[in-house]
Symmetry: D2
Subunit: 351 residues, 4 copies
């Protein structure tokens, strides 16, 4: 109820603050007998971590994952898996100057209003660092989905106002933006360097595709596959919108244009983005999310302090200029969690 | 788990198919002592029902609600409230011609793939008629929210390609589109008549605003207020996207442009749409949803039958040309359900 | 959260007060494709209903069940099944004299303390009538379990101080106590007639056995099979205790006496009652519940009224002298609900 | 769903195997602002740990708890609290001889049947060591309950066949059995030394009382306070039964004897044990649990191996002769978890 758990049958609970002792996740409901090593998880965490290039935070967390339970002799046992990452490069002192002021665009104000107390060190629980637990759990879900023949790929399609105009999946991991278009990626990079000089930041759009998904996943009526994916994506602090298939462009179409006709080979078009009535159609699942620009900027901004007095703030610290390349593995992880959960729900329904 | 329940502490479970015995809802967790009559609920159902004008289905369901439990001497008792609407104007025979074909844009195919069996009469459980239960439950949530000083208003801002350019809340219930701009509404109406002649349909965008919401609602990290609203909205079959505040427009902004600064009066701007870090800021909550064009059109379309053979289909029956005016009360209802649930969750956390 | 739902994957929500419009249940998660008719459910409800003989309440409810959703052409569709029983023989006026007094042993006082309001007509929600919904849902679970080869049988082993000394399953439905020993049943009957003359009531013990259960059901660590069965049984208002296998007698045994040894045919003894570590062993599952004497007695008793003043009360109305024969089908139903849910949970885990 | 979580609003998830990296718990939903230190938790863990005297296992785990999240500057923040205890005195090699045999009375066989794989080292997840996480979480719940004026005390009332005949709360922590009667405790001790020489073990009964509980806690109809306490207690592997108030003795009473009459001071008797209709009455809450004799005994026993062949086994290792004194703090912890959860549920209902 308190919101730190996600999923029903493949269920995760994350814990941890940016500058507390550790962050991580407990996963309950993992199919027993799966081969699982720390390396399987580490490779996904390495895609998420900072310090990879000029775009991302210089904070150097090793983000080394430890499997503390639920795995025996290299295989999952069906019992809860605790994955823990100790915080090492925490510098809480660096946050002393912000403990009395609300950073614009940050959850400082809302956390204080909600809880009456807040851990101000590096955004505490609201830190992007919380997503490390999600990525770790997502790595396990991905392994199970791979056995089912399901592949998930996410990538940047727009950043700092610059759109990708081609789609080449092979280049995604070869450019710092994780964009699907190298030319656009170069332009994005140039624009981001400029923003960094301006002590400013950028947002963009991430697209995600899932292949190999059978028709029939998703639970009418409230736990539609798209409803749960939307829930998952909007649970990321930087995400302000989501659309499936034709998405917002569908609103100006006629029914005759939007409806995906079928022939004996299946769906001819895919305006629905692979989900109709909340259930997978068997076509490629495709959605896009709107990522707001990074809130933490060094540029001076107006705000108030705890007493309600007007003041100025510069968010120093070690921040990303653009979060997109790091959000890509998180999007994949959350998608994997939703899908693995729905496979199990479908199995339960038909049992 | 099977997906027909929504909410945690103010929890609803809907039931019913379009042409079965009844549709409705059980609500568990309603605060005891609330004055509640069938009239309170009926007025919201009347906003949702068909047959109101040329835009909506000519199906004439009285949609008369019956309170069967949980209310004693005009007050809620804190026990489950069953609200039931008997199906009266059901004409299952009208659906005989579609029982062997998959209607494009409909959940016919996906339901069959999921369940291995489907009630084809009027889309069965996938029918928009299922939302009657949601609206009935939402009416109860609205009454509780009114006591908390919270108001919710939804309205059409775009339909059939025509945008509203002004915002006048007083006209919403005075035009068949429930648009916030009478001039635009007239243009939409003309365009819809034309589409109706073409045996086609339209979609659009609904916007929703919530006022009077205190700061501090929403549960980090997975059950953020926006995550749960997104879940709620995407659980509507016709919705293909959602955005909060600046939404997709935020992706091209710089951090310095998007961040909402504060002064001693509160937030100066509201790009966040009233939610930061998943928690309400106390500013107006605002979001928009993308509604796809109605799938059921009389125009002939290509599809396949149960045997996988290619064929043609014309979806006769009694359908809406544009669902927007009827989805408006559903959006308000789902918003009310999410908010009332979060008020209770916050009370539990602080208890 | 508000407590009217039970189960996770085969999930029921009951609703209704004794003298409101109706009682019943919504079941979500039923495997699609199961043949299901009202007759299947009615036969279990008929075992539970009053007016069967001198032991039970003379209230004559037909308890006719109506399937309102989730079944199409005689088969379940996988969508929620609403089962409703309209209240017909309600005589709320008969309860006018008790609306200001707390009946000893009844939930009158606690409901008022909890909710600040109560429906005093026939105990409202606390009425045994609420269990009709459970029995109806249990009938569906039983059909599914029968397909899995699982049989459940419950029966009285002690009533009004008289124990059964033999076990003959064939006589259970042939005596008004549903006892497993005809001689004991005759003695119980005689004793109950005497208690009825004294305007008093009796309790007893019900035993339940499950056969055909495979080894491996139950979810460590909190949702052990026995933990969930205990939850289910103690959710019956009249039940004050439960024990599995050797139960309370196990406390005086040595480990060497209590441990069930195995040979190549399986377990040699069954002190564990078919569950070890919360998981079924494959041996017969066996448990017993303590049922308190019926609270409603015509004999005058001391109590207080709403103002806290001391007074006397005689609970007239139409009450059972001993609830055991009617609780037997409820015990079977609740057992079926727990088991069916665990079959689905096991399927999900291994999926 | 997979069973490692308990509670709804004060929700815990335990993890860990006896001989894995660590055991512990994540608690979500803790009221923010509570003063909390490791010492608060350690004192309860110290009551549970082994090596305290001849009755309990000689395994010497320091059971040192670490708070890894959710506490900032000595106060809870409302975010998840991870409490972790690293396993130090693990000797997996000692279990090599049992990896191919099923220990009588142990969950070896059932875990293997359920999961198809098992961590045989010290019973893995089925180890009593898992309860350390429960006790740690219970310590937090106890602190919150103390603020509400609620006290919980559990103690041994029967062990190795010897009953307590007096009740002196002050002696409970002064004898190795945690019995409420020093004379009985001495007799129990003598009997246990004898059983230890016989390489055998004993069980007994633990009673628990709760004082200061207001009337009105508990959720009709399925989540009755007694139903949830029964669930909690039967989730302990060694517990085979539970009874409330008069319990199994109630079955032979007449209604007129069992009903608790009220006068202007409240309830005159307490046969109900403080719960009627699943809701607390405001009287003392009282229940008893049946604890089976310890399964692990050095005495040779007959069993089978993984191949189904008959063989003999002697459970060496470091085991308790009688688990009662160590189960007492676990019973208190589980009771605290149930009660704190219900306080929050009641707050949510009335919000």
């Amino acid at each position: 109820m308190a919101g730190s758990s996600f999923g029903h049958l493949f269920r995760i609970t994350t814990f941890g603050e940016s500058h507390g002792g550790a962050v991580g996740v407990v996963i309950d409901g993992v199919t027993p007998g799966l081969e699982l090593s720390e390396a399987d998880i580490q490779k996904e965490l390495d895609r998420r971590k900072g310090g990879q290039n000029f775009i991302t935070t210089p904070r150097q967390e090793a983000d080394e994952v430890h499997i503390m339970s639920g795995v025996f002799e290299g295989r999952t046992t069906g019992t809860p898996i605790l994955l823990i990452l100790y915080n090492k490069d925490a510098r809480p002192a660096a946050y002393d100057d912000i403990k009395d002021k609300f950073r614009p665009g940050h959850a400082d104000f809302t956390y204080l209003k909600k809880y009456g107390i807040r851990d101000y060190r590096g955004s505490g629980r609201a830190s992007g660092r919380e997503t490390a637990g999600r990525v770790a759990a997502g790595a396990v879900a991905k392994k199970l989905l791979a056995r089912r023949g399901v592949q998930i790929v996410a990538y940047t399609i727009r950043a700092a106002g610059i759109p990708c105009t081609t789609f080449d999946e092979s280049v995604i991991e070869q450019n710092p933006l994780r964009a699907c278009d190298l030319t656009a990626a170069a332009a994005m990079e140039a624009r981001l360097r400029q923003l960094q000089e301006e002590q400013d930041s950028a947002g963009g759009i991430v697209e995600c595709r899932v292949r190999g998904l059978p028709a029939g996943l998703g639970e009418p009526v409230f736990d539609k596959l798209d409803a749960e994916l939307a829930h998952a994506m909007l649970s990321l602090g930087a995400v302000k919108g989501i659309e499936f298939g034709a998405g917002f462009a569908a609103v100006d179409m006629k029914g005759s244009e939007h409806n995906d006709w079928m022939n004996s080979n299946g769906f001819i078009t895919n305006n629905a983005g692979g989900i109709i009535g909340g259930i997978s159609t068997g076509a490629e699942l495709i959605f896009r999310i709107a990522v707001k620009p990074v809130s933490s900027i060094a540029k001076p901004q107006r705000t108030i302090n705890l007493k309600g007095e007007e003041t100025e703030i510069r968010t120093e610290g070690r921040h990303d200029t653009c979060i997109l390349p790091r959000i890509v593995p998180v999007v994949e992880a959350m998608t994997a969690l939703v899908l693995e959960d729905h496979f199990k729900r479908q199995a339960a329904l038909m049992a």
